[in-house]
């Protein structure tokens, strides 16, 4: 009997948490968490260092208001002049254009002038008041999209002057995809790269799936959690990320290109899909689409897993997402499950 008890205790002790190396770095202007399972400490340190420098390189390259390649290109494009950029910038913009087109330009990296007008092209958050309505209307009327550009070799050619590119809703996802490619090239196949709260996971923690918590948009702690499988990205856009309150009203950084004002009807949108770049652009598009139109846009973008929290904090879910989500709040929120037919 003593032997049996000892075996039982030994069996239980095997259920210890698997060892995960976790590194937290500041890159891409945000916190980047790198979690790696099943690699030795030296490989983890080398990988983290590589990701750090690669994130910072792309951040500088595509920064909207500091003097990198995209910023320099914007100076010419605004004047209606062609701009020479690197091939990787062209490839990134082409991918962004494909997603923008599918979203009906709700995700629109060509509205840099509007974002700047709202004061979000600065390190410090704006304090208000909102910009004058006439200035907003003037920029909305121009209705720039990436279709106003043609790409020829390493050149971006604008069809008309005035366009300013801002890839803030896309570049992070694109960089996360490349970070995962880098890890795989180093032989690391079990990891999560989480850049400022948006992440892609590969592999698992041994026989356990990676588990991701989703922040509550209006209180501390988590709203929900879900297990992610090999090669899945989870991206959330929210009105709580960058915002200011003026006369009791919240003005956040996700601008609806159709109105020129912050998207008013969603609090947060979480997308789960394979590639991080598409998840990034899609979460912005669905924030703007809002609770009345999100299913149409999600279908156009080929999404399957979506969670949208509206301004009443009701949670709208696709059936596939509803099966994956575990709410971490008590009582559970009101949920509305909507199909994408």
């Amino acid at each position: 009997m003593a032997l049996l008890v000892c075996l039982f205790v030994a069996a239980c002790s095997k259920d210890e948490a698997p060892h995960v190396h976790q590194e937290r770095i500041v890159a891409f202007g945000t916190l980047v968490d790198v979690s790696i399972y099943g690699a030795d400490a030296d490989d983890v340190a080398t990988a983290t260092e590589k990701l750090h420098s690669e994130f910072n390189r792309r951040h500088t390259l595509w920064h909207a208001w500091k003097g990198g390649e995209l910023y320099q290109a914007n100076l010419l494009l605004r004047e209606g002049q062609p701009a020479k950029v690197s091939q990787e910038t062209i490839v990134m913009l082409q991918k962004a254009r494909a997603i923008s087109d599918r979203s009906g330009h709700l995700f629109n990296p060509a509205i840099g002038s509007l974002v700047a007008l709202w004061g979000y092209h600065a390190d410090e958050l704006p304090t208000g008041p909102p910009p004058p309505a006439a200035e907003i209307a003037k920029l909305v009327k121009k209705s720039f999209t990436l279709d106003d550009l043609t790409f020829s070799g390493n050149e971006i050619i604008p069809r008309r002057p005035g366009i300013t590119l801002d890839v803030g809703a896309f570049a992070k996802g694109y960089a996360v995809d490349h970070a995962i490619d880098l890890l795989r090239a180093m032989g690391i196949n079990n990891a999560i790269v989480n850049a400022g709260g948006d992440l892609r996971a590969i592999g698992s923690k041994g026989d356990k799936a990676w588990r991701v918590g989703i922040r509550h948009p209006r209180q501390t702690g988590l709203l929900a959690s879900l297990s992610v499988h090999d090669n899945e990205s989870v991206f959330t856009s929210g009105d709580y990320e960058r915002f200011y309150i003026h006369n009791g009203k919240r003005y956040h950084h996700i601008i609806d290109p159709r109105t020129g004002y912050p998207a008013p009807d969603s609090t947060s949108v979480t997308i789960l899909r394979a590639d991080a770049a598409t998840a990034d652009g899609s979460s912005t598009a669905l924030m703007i689409a809002g609770p009345k139109d999100w299913t149409r846009v999600a279908k156009a973008l080929g999404l399957e897993y979506v969670m949208l929290v509206d301004t009443e904090l009701n949670v709208h879910l696709t059936p596939a997402m509803a099966e994956r989500i575990k709410f971490e709040v008590d009582p559970k929120p009101v949920t509305v499950i909507e199909t994408l037919d």
Partner: protein, 128 residues
């Protein structure tokens, strides 16, 4: 029948049974008591160092160095907060007290972050 079972139980068996009974309250508290909403540890990240776990039960004021200078962090009565930091926006300070699993705040310019993550914290990372 009873006496035969009794005869088969050795002293070592009784010791194991006594130990198992003694350890029950500890196991109950560890795995079944979810009465406490508040976490007991916070992860502190400082540039160039691995993540440190601080107890939220030990009141203390810490001064940690980042690229911009000294950031002051206070742990008090199960909560933690940024008290002072040499960053321009002071968003880390405006985040206020953190106490629940998953609460986090960061001073991005000074590369210092806090994440409340007690033993009940079962997620590997946070989407926000």
């Amino acid at each position: 029948m009873n006496s035969r079972i009794h005869a088969n139980i050795t002293k070592a068996d009784w010791v194991v049974v006594a130990l198992a009974i003694a350890v029950l309250p500890v196991l109950y508290i560890k795995f079944w008591s979810h009465g406490s909403v508040f976490a007991e540890t916070v992860q502190l990240n400082i540039p160039g160092q691995s993540i440190q776990n601080l107890s939220l039960r030990e009141n203390q004021t810490l001064k940690v160095e980042g690229p911009l200078g000294i950031t002051t962090i206070e742990v008090r009565d199960g909560k933690v907060r940024f008290v002072d930091s040499p960053c321009p926006g002071k968003q880390c300070i405006h985040a206020g007290w953190l106490s629940v699993d998953g609460d986090f705040a960061a001073c991005i310019p000074n590369h210092i972050s806090l994440l409340v993550a007690g033993s009940d914290f079962t997620v590997d990372t946070i989407n926000f």
